[in-house]
Every structure is written in C-alpha cells, then in structure tokens.
C-alpha cells in the first residue's frame, strides 16, 4: 500500500466500511445460531436474572400466579427483554422505573412492577 494510495482513502468512509463488514459478520452469526445455542444462551442469562431474586420459592409461588394471567409466555423472549431492561442497573431502580412508566404486572391481584412479575414468571417456568 503506497502512501499515495493510502492518501486517497478518506478516514470516515474507511471506518463506515469497517463497521459494515463487522455488522455483516455479526448478523450472519445470529442468523446461523442454532436453536440449541440460542436456548443455552437464554438459560445462561435467565440464570443470572433469577439470581436477582431474594427467595426462589417465593418467586415461583408468585410466578405461578403471574403465568395464569399471561398468554404465550416465552422464556427466551422474556429473558432477552429483561436482560436488556435491567442491564447493569440496580433491580430496585428498574422496578421503580416500571412503576413510574406504568409497566405493571399482576399476581393474584397483587400489583407488581412488570419486571418483578416477569422475573417471577421465569422462576416458575424454569426453576
């Protein structure tokens, strides 16, 4: 690569191109991921999520009630949703955020922050 040739390449187009190549590789990876791999990844993440719950037995009891009011509960989708919502934030702050935003769940009439309700539903479903 000569200095002349290198000089023709503007810095921004080069970076954009590089990002595009990386995105394509990542996208292909997702597309090619097997169901088993996806499930294992979800189990890994929801295992982490359930670790946020203080008492797993309580969570299962609550979750069983939550599930009665949910149609089409999907462990992987819920795991992905909660993983994204919680991230590295303190769970308490996430729950308050739920309440402020009006994201609520129901467990036998108990009005719960949606994130807690879904965590409990995950516990009841998986663990």
């Amino acid at each position: 690569m000569t200095a002349t040739w290198r000089g023709r390449i503007a810095r921004r187009p080069f970076l954009l191109g590089a990002f595009a190549v990386l995105a394509a590789i990542a996208g292909t990876g997702v597309l090619l991921e097997t169901p088993t791999a996806r499930r294992n990844r979800a189990v890994f993440f929801h295992g982490n999520l359930l670790g946020l719950l203080d008492d797993r037995d309580d969570a299962r009891l609550i979750g069983a009630s939550v599930l009665k009011g949910l149609k089409g509960f999907d462990v992987h989708e819920t795991t992905r949703l909660l993983g994204g919502r919680i991230g590295k934030r303190a769970l308490g702050d996430v729950l308050v955020g739920d309440a402020v935003a009006g994201r609520l769940g129901d467990a036998g009439g108990w009005v719960l922050p949606e994130t807690l309700a879904l965590l409990c539903a995950l516990a009841a479903k998986t663990g």
């Binding site: 009891l61 009439g109 922050p113």
Partner: protein
Amino acid sequence: LNAFLDARAIPADTTFKPDLAIIGGGPAAISLALALADTPIDMLLLESGGLKYEYPTQQLYAGTETGVKYVALDATRLRFLGGCSSHWGGWTRPLDGVDFEERAWLPYSGWPFSRAELEPYFARAQALVEAGPFIYDDAKTWTDVMGAPLKLGPGGVYTSWFQFSKTRDSDLPTQFGARYEQDLKRIPNLKLMLHANVTGIRLANNAGHVDHLDVATLSGKTFTVKPKYTVLATGGIENARLLLASNDVMKPGIGNAHDLVGRFFADHPIPRDTATMVLFDGNLASYYQNQQTAAGAQVRATLSPSQDFIRARQVLGSLTTVEEEVQLDDLGQAAVSATAAALDVDADNVKAYSLGCGMEMMPDPDRRLMLTDKRDALGMPRLELHMTISDLDFARYRDTMKELGRQLLAARTGMVRLNRKTREEWLSVMDWGNHHLGTTRMHKDPRGGVVDANSQVHGVANLYVAGSSVFPTYSASNPTMNLVALTLRLADHLRGLFK
C-alpha cells in the same frame, strides 16, 4: 315559640294559603325554612311523620326492589322530622369541580352550572350540618402535627379529607329534626305541620302551575293547601313518587313529559375490602383510620382520584378509606417479601390494611323508580326500584386502585392487592350509602332533566324540587352538605321571587 301543628287536628275542608309550601321535613326542607326565616314569605312546612319514628308512617315507604340487591325502600330512609339525617353518619365533603363538568366519555354528565355557583353557599351549609370550619383538603396543613401523610409517587391518587357533622359535644351527627326543632319554632313566618302527608300535587288545567296540594293523615283527615309556590323536598325516592303519582292533569306525571322522573336513580355503592394496601414500614397516620381533630374540625383522610386523573383516565369519583389491619396469605406474604427485597427496602415492620370505599356510579336511565299497582295506607301507589350497577363502574374503580398501587411502588412505600375482580366478587361485598340521587335530575333542557338550573320543574312555574334528587351526576362525596348548599341557593332564588 310557635308550637308545631298536627294535621290530625285540622278540621276537614280547611284550606291553607301560604306563600310557600315546603313538602318534607328533612335536611333540605328544614334548611330552606331556616334560610327563609324572617322574610315576608309565609311558609307552611308539611311533614309526613311526627317528631320520632312511627311504624305506620314508616310503612308508607314500603316498596319492592328488583335487579341488583338494594336496601329495602322502607329501610333506606326515615319518615319523621329530620328525615334521613336521623340515621346519617355525618360524613361530609364538598363536590369537586369535575363533578359539574360535562364529560364526553360519561353519558348524561354535566350540571347546568359550575362549582363556582355553589361555593358561596358551602360555608353556611357547613354551619348547618355542624361540621366545623370548612377545611377539607386544607387539613394537609395540619399533617405536621397529626403525622405525615402516605408517601405516594406522582400520579392520580392523593390524600383528600372528609369532615364530620357533630351535634355540639355529641358524638352523633346533626339530626336536623331534633337539632333545629326549637329554631323552627322560633320562625315567625313558618307553620310546621306534623303528620301531614301530601298525596297529590294538583296542577291547573293548563298544567303550567300548581293549583293546590292534597293533604291526608293516616287518621283519615284530608284538607287542601293552595300555595303560591311549592318546594318538593321529600328525598330522592319520594320526590319522584309524588311527581309520578300526581298524574291527573299530566298523564305521565308532573315534569315527566320526557319520561325522566324516577330514572337515573343512584346511590353510592360501598363495597368492603376492595383492596389490600401494604405499607413496608407499617407507618400509617391515625387519621387514615379514625377521625381526628384539626383546627376545630373532625377530619379523616381518604384516598381519592385527583380531578385531572378523573378527566384523563376517565374514571369516576371514589373515596377510599383505610379500614382494619389484615393478615396476608402465603401468596401475599411472598409478594410483599419479594417486592420489598427487590426494591431494597426494609419490610420488617410491614402492615397490611383492608381498604373500603364509596364509589360514584355512572348515570343510568334504566336504574329507576316506577309506580306499581299496589297502594299504601293513604291510597298512594307504591314504588318499585329497579337497581343496576355496571361492570364499568367496578372496572373504573379498579383503575384507581391500580393507580394507588403504582404510586406506592414508585415511592417504595408499599403495594396494593386488588381484591375484587368478577362481578360476583364485587356484589358479594356490596353495601350502600343510602344516598338517594338523580331521580329528578337538573338540566337546562327539559329533554335532559326534570328541573332547570333554578331547581324549578320544567314547565311548571311555581314548583321546585330540593334535595339530591336533582343531582345529574353524583360525585363520590356524601350528599347532605352539598344538597343543603344547593337548597340555600334555591332559597335565594325564592327570596328574589317575593321581592
């Protein structure tokens, strides 16, 4: 003092010709007479009962009920001087501005005037019901002394306030008959007649004004009253009955050209244990559960939807009270424990309380009073009440309770369980306020109401209706103080007619 007259001692064929006949002897009638004391208006107040409960008179109220279970018509009210104030609980709270508004999402809503029209009368009404200084939501000023209010996140439910009627140093609310008996006897321009049952409001042949009233006693006496003006103030049920039964000139009944008299009956449903409220730290100021003195008034806190919330979320009024402490089942304990832990708050002293409430109902023309073929001892047709309550009424209250739960969570203060979901669950815990509303509703248009903005029966020049039967929408607030305020406004209107 003017001794009260007894209709049983009036000679037959007597005709009284007062300026103003007041039919009834409850809070509206008595407030009207007191308000017009010392005017040139010659008043005759006709009370069906005596000074105390009398079974034969009370039986004149008997009727039948269909639909949703309701209180028997002869048990939900009292027929002697003082009327229903002789069994009221003394709870008072003024109507809110939103109660007067026409709301597109609430069919048949809207008074013909705003709250501002009643405001000049609230202070005097408050004095008549003896509820102390007019404080209500200003009671929050005293929470520094009485204890902090519930900490709620921003939202639609707030701590509002009741006040209570007290007869001087008594624990009982003001019973208008006993309380004002001597005051009524001191009114020089008033004749008050007991045991005088108006059995017919007789219109002139052109139906444009009242010609005379038929009066009868259970002892068999009959006589006539020919007033210049008449105010019908016999309560939300009997007002409709008398108008419907006075059908000799107007066949559908007086004021009933548009089939509105007796329709839109309402009361305040009082379902018990509607929700469970948990407070993680267990701290609850005592004024949420019990009356407390603030600046000379007896107050108690209630959890109420704000006016903005009512408008935005299309809910109705409700006044939620904190009742007794309750224990939680396994699911409740788990829910509280998990939520407190997840919110990172201490719940070692957690307490749970049952919530009750007084609700507002949607206006419903099918919730109505109708005359039957059965007759009472005076030959008057007895009533049938068809009672309804909509699932939407319950759903709207649930929305308010859910909002309370949301606000408690947002503040990390506590949480709520909604205890009633199905219609059967709601009806199983239903009680009623015995507040009879709406049956002669007020509307500027005769097609929308029985009386106009001045409480005059549409099309009948000298006939007025007083009391909560004219409320077109009902609020959740208890009606007594509000109907007294409305009656004082009517008194000013009548005073103007005699100038």
